[in-house]
């Protein structure tokens, strides 16, 4: 009988890791300006434009994209498992909407009264993810509560209340957008469409820290995630403390979503597509599915962002548009297939 063994774990993860490394190198070299790698590495000083573009502009952006793609995919995997619904993803559940609202409120409220205490850049990059995290956590619990009747989670209520919650949040955000000043509003719109732009290494490191912490937390729950896909009752009977598991998953994934949304806005569909594709390739065992989806999500967003940078060069598309181009049709296809399956056609 075929089951997950150490060999398969190592093989799949190292192949994906190698692909990720290759993608990082390739994507930093691709862009509107042609770069010569040997010339860039030859002289690392400020005077060398090649090295400056490679290390100051492209590399931090690519590294940020990898973290966010991986984090979105990992969150998609665990939310799908926890809610027993293969169509769940952060965007569909209203979670990223809540995170956006939290982040915006954080952004608007931050400079006035926290600046003297927290001080400068470090203050903002730690405060906005925290505000987004709180927004994500609140909206996740709210949508969850509204889909729970007599202790049972109703998948259609869940998706519907998530979507409705998301549009409600969008209205609130647009309202905020129209009362703040023009320059702030312009930046807000670009951010809302989901974009990656060049950030300081410090910001990138901060986001990676949030995401690695959340990911390891979720990965440690891999076995319990396998069991919870059988339903809450069966998981209880197989020895899982389901209440504690739900709370931990909500907190860990909200942390990640908060951090991601705070720098890149809502990059949709990565958390929906990647888990599905990876489930087909590596199977449904979450101990492997989680790291594999993380790596694949990183690879995917890395390339999607490169496409966003070069498609209309020198202009730049928000990467959320690229992911939605792939993700929208993919989601409809899944919905159609699920429908066929449940009607046993």
């Amino acid at each position: 009988m075929k089951v997950l063994d150490r060999r398969k774990m190592i093989l799949v993860n190292s192949v994906l890791l190698a692909l990720l490394a290759l993608s990082i190198v390739a994507c930093t070299l691709l862009g509107p300006v042609r770069l010569d790698l040997s010339r860039a590495l030859h002289d690392l000083s400020f005077a060398n434009p090649d090295s400056e573009i490679l290390f100051r502009a492209r590399l931090p952006r690519v590294l940020l994209g990898v973290a966010i793609g991986g984090g979105m995919a990992a969150c998609g995997v665990v939310l799908q498992a926890l809610l027993g619904n293969p169509l769940a993803c952060p965007q569909m559940l209203g979670v990223s909407g809540g995170a956006s609202l939290g982040g915006i409120l954080g952004l608007i409220l931050f400079p006035n009264w926290l600046l003297p205490i927290a001080g400068g850049l470090l203050g903002e990059i730690s405060w906005v993810p925290l505000a987004a995290f709180l927004g994500a956590l609140c909206s996740m619990m709210l949508v969850y509560r509204f889909s729970l009747f007599h202790g049972r989670l109703h998948p259609y209520h869940l998706l519907l209340s998530g979507v409705i919650f998301n549009s409600f949040i969008a209205a609130v955000i647009m309202f905020l957008n129209s009362i703040i000043d023009f320059y702030q509003a312009q930046g807000l719109l670009f951010w809302l469409m989901g974009s990656l732009s060049t950030r300081a290494y410090l910001t990138v490191a901060f986001i990676w820290a949030y995401i690695i912490f959340g990911f390891l937390w979720l990965w440690a729950k891999g076995l319990s995630l396998n069991l919870i896909t059988l339903g809450e009752e069966a998981a209880l009977q197989l020895g899982v403390e389901t209440g504690a598991l739900q709370r931990q998953i909500f907190i860990a994934s909200s942390l990640m979503i908060g951090a991601m949304v705070s720098v890149s806005g809502m990059i949709g569909f990565v958390g929906l597509m990647i888990p599905h594709v990876m489930r087909l390739i590596v199977g449904s065992d979450h101990r492997l599915l989680l790291p594999a989806s993380f790596l694949a999500g990183g690879i995917f967003l890395c390339w999607a962002d490169t496409l966003a940078r070069i498609a209309l060069a020198p202009a730049e598309l928000p990467v959320g548009i690229i992911t939605a181009f792939f993700g929208g049709p993919f989601f409809l296809f899944l919905l159609y297939r699920e429908g066929r399956k449940s009607l046993a056609l």
């Binding site: 089951v3 729950k221 059988l230 209880l236 197989l238 101990r287």
Partner: protein, 260 residues
């Protein structure tokens, strides 16, 4: 010897509707019990309380220890549950599903060890699932699926096996196979078995002790010939039957007297 399961004055209500009332039941170690009763008589609720999914009022003791003193992990090593229906939204193979029964035995961070694989293989052999170990669960027929779920329950190496209508979706041959397997587990391994059942004739054939529930209370408790009488069936189910002894098995069997 202490009873494997003991409930004292157990009651349970969903909102204001009382489903179980004052149920006191004692199951000895190595006993095999069938729980009978019409729809809504509290069979499933009783099993859910015994497996700590629901919390009733009153006391439940397992091996002379209060059920609340156990951790989930310890409970899942003590007993296994075969539910009426099992949902499966994600594509797992049969082997993966059976190995999930071993979750409490190995570290949550590790993969299954050699012992886990051996136990899973043995239970799949016992339930006749080994030939389709690599297929996906959602591709299987109802009978095959049920055997996989039983294999998973046995992979937990439980002392007590709780089953909720284990033969609900099975054809006659597979029903008989499941019950024969339960009898073997009970006889050869001394496993305590409690099953909620709908088919009274099969219950009479395979289960030495039957408990009849009616409106959340224990109505009769005893051997098949004590419980399955024309009078009790009329009082509990409200239908007229004729009860006769099966001359070969020596067990009572029901014949339905239709008004037509």
């Amino acid at each position: 010897m202490n009873p494997a399961i003991e409930t004292r004055n157990l009651s349970f209500a969903y909102k204001d509707r009382e489903v179980l009332h004052d149920v006191s039941l004692s199951v000895e170690q190595g006993e095999m019990i069938g729980i009978l009763g019409p729809n809504g008589s509290g069979k499933t609720t009783l099993l859910k309380i015994l497996s700590a999914v629901l919390n009733g009022q009153g006391e439940v003791r397992l091996n002379d220890r209060d059920i609340e003193a156990y951790s989930r992990r310890d409970l899942s090593k003590l007993f296994a549950v075969v539910a009426q229906e099992s949902s499966m939204n994600f594509p797992y193979t049969v082997a993966e599903v059976v190995l999930m029964g071993r979750a409490s035995y190995h570290s949550p961070f590790a993969l299954e060890g050699k012992k886990d694989l051996e136990v899973a293989r043995a239970t799949m052999e016992l339930t006749d699932c080994l030939s389709f170990a690599n297929r996906y669960l959602h591709e299987l027929s109802g009978g095959e699926k049920q055997r996989v779920i039983i294999a998973r329950a046995l992979a937990q190496e439980p002392e007590i096996l709780l089953l909720d209508e284990p033969s609900a979706f099975l054809d006659l041959k597979h029903q008989v196979q499941v019950f024969e397997l339960l009898c073997r587990l009970n006889r050869e391994r001394g496993m305590t078995i409690v099953a909620a059942l709908h088919d009274l004739n099969l219950a009479a054939l395979f289960f030495p002790r039957l408990v009849m529930l009616r409106e959340g209370k224990i109505y009769r408790d005893g051997s098949p010939s004590e419980v399955l009488t024309e009078k009790t069936i009329d009082e509990v189910y409200g239908i007229r039957v004729r009860v006769e002894q099966d001359p070969v098995a020596g067990k009572p069997q029901l014949f339905i007297c239709s008004a037509l």
